[in-house]
């Protein structure tokens, strides 16, 4: 299990999954706070965040379905097979891989794992090349296609290039503390 305090893990579990209630549940305003009824009917089709859906699924209260982009026959799969590097995964799910890892054992879909692996392998190469060659810190266009995990890798790549340059060229060793970096002095 990932770190309890890990921000990304917390946010990855916030992703929405489609689910169907298998039995009625007595809880006030779960789906809509303005809803006055006290009950969710059995067979109600709802969208639940992963953290709620997981435990309810394990206990048989709801049946979880995979989100559209993980389905066996879906546009996303076809696009990934065609040209993984230029698929907008961020628009589908910011935590594409993390969610995939979490959901695969839950629904018992054996095809999700290899699918994720293929997607990551092809995209990783592209991310790495771009991270090491991109000239400036200005956010390039393709960054909007990357999922959160890939964006982190991209940043790490850029940082290491910057660190390498600094090591080769030398730079000022004494600097103001980075927490003060964005400080603006009052205009006199």
């Amino acid at each position: 299990m990932a770190n309890y305090y890990d921000i990304d893990d917390v946010l990855a579990e916030e992703e929405i999954l489609p689910a169907v209630f298998q039995q009625a549940a007595d809880c006030f305003g779960l789906l809509d706070s303005s809803d006055d009824t006290n009950e969710v009917e059995a067979g109600a089709k709802v969208e639940l965040p992963f953290w709620l859906a997981r435990d309810l699924h394990v206990r048989g209260v709801v049946a979880v379905d995979v989100p559209p982009y993980f389905r066996k026959v879906s546009r996303t799969r076809k696009e990934i097979e065609a040209d993984a590097a230029h698929v907008d995964l961020r628009g589908r799910c910011q935590y594409f891989y993390e969610l995939g890892l979490k959901i695969a054992p839950l629904v018992g879909d054996k095809t999700i794992g290899p699918f994720l692996l293929v997607a990551f392998q092809t995209r990783y190469k592209e991310v790495l090349v771009k991270a090491h060659t991109a000239a400036s810190a200005v956010a390039p266009k393709h960054l909007t296609l990357l999922t959160n995990e890939e964006a982190k890798l991209y940043e790490a790549g850029q940082l290491s290039t910057a660190a390498f340059k600094k090591w080769r060229m030398g730079g000022p060793r004494l600097q103001r503390a980075p927490v003060l970096g964005r400080k603006r002095k009052p205009i006199e």
Binding site: Y5, D55, V61, A177, V179
Partner: protein, 266 residues
């Protein structure tokens, strides 16, 4: 939807730059806690209902009867409802804990960067308990260092020269340093012991002087030249900007100053 506010809190943390603190979101924090209280309330009432039904079940069992179908359904519904509230509580707890924990981590790293005193603009972003936490953490760091008799916050690379040239950015008056008493007036250029100067540099009171900083004496440099650096021009911009100029920008700067001196200078 349950747990939305908690995740908003964490999202706020995720969207801020790493290492930077944003103001403690008291408002949202209190809202999440309110939501928790609400969940607890619902959970309590559901559990009471479940217990009542269980009692009925036991009584009926003694009479060799079973619960009616509708009652069974109700029990199930209560059970799953209670479960949902329980999970929401756990989730909100996790969001709150993650928020506080990650901020505390940043605050701990402040202890290394700025030593004992927090600048005002950072201090106002902390909550009361965070201020206390920082104070205690800084104090224990200090006591550890004094126990070791070693300042662990200094630069890891040994200096080539024990003295460095710095320029003062803020007026702080007379200060007693380890080998001299210096008047730290704004814009004064001083030659100080590196160990003395280091803490002031990290607090952004000094700036390190490099050889090309001598251009500052050029009177035209006080003009706003933000059009070519893209940064806010200020009287003390030169020292700060030069440190981040790349080769091409440096050329531009030289050209600009050259033009200024040749054609505009008196």
């Amino acid at each position: 939807m349950y747990g939305k506010k908690g995740s908003e809190l964490v999202k706020e943390l995720a969207s801020s730059e790493p290492g930077q603190l944003s103001a403690f979101n008291n408002d949202l924090f209190a809202q999440v806690i309110d939501e928790c209280t609400g969940h607890l309330h619902h959970l309590g009432s559901l559990i009471r209902k479940i217990e009542e039904l269980k009692k009925i079940e036991e009584i009926k069992k003694l009479n060799n009867q079973e619960l009616e179908e509708s009652e069974k359904q109700l029990l199930k519904a209560h059970n799953s409802g209670a479960l949902i509230h329980h999970l929401s509580l756990l989730r909100n707890k996790r969001c709150l804990m993650a928020y506080v924990y990650n901020r505390a981590e940043t605050i701990r790293s402040l202890g290394w960067a700025v030593e004992r005193v927090l600048p005002e603009e950072i201090e106002e972003k902390l909550s009361g308990s965070e201020k206390e936490y920082f104070k205690n953490h800084a104090a224990s760091l200090q006591s550890y260092m004094s126990e070791l008799d070693l300042d662990l916050a200094v630069d890891m690379v040994p200096p080539k020269d024990p003295y460095i040239k710095v320029r003062v950015l803020e007026d702080i008056g007379n200060v007693l340093l380890s080998d001299q008493s210096a008047n730290l007036a704004r814009h004064a250029i001083l030659f100080l012991r590196r160990t003395d100067a280091e803490q002031y540099i990290s607090q952004a009171i000094f700036t390190l002087m490099l050889w090309y900083s001598c251009i500052i004496i050029c009177p035209r440099s006080q003009y706003n030249v933000s059009w070519f650096t893209g940064l806010n021009g200020r009287a003390d911009w030169l020292n700060q900007v030069i440190m981040v100029l790349s080769g091409q920008e440096w050329l531009q700067l030289m050209l600009y100053l050259f033009v200024q001196i040749c054609f505009l200078g008196e």
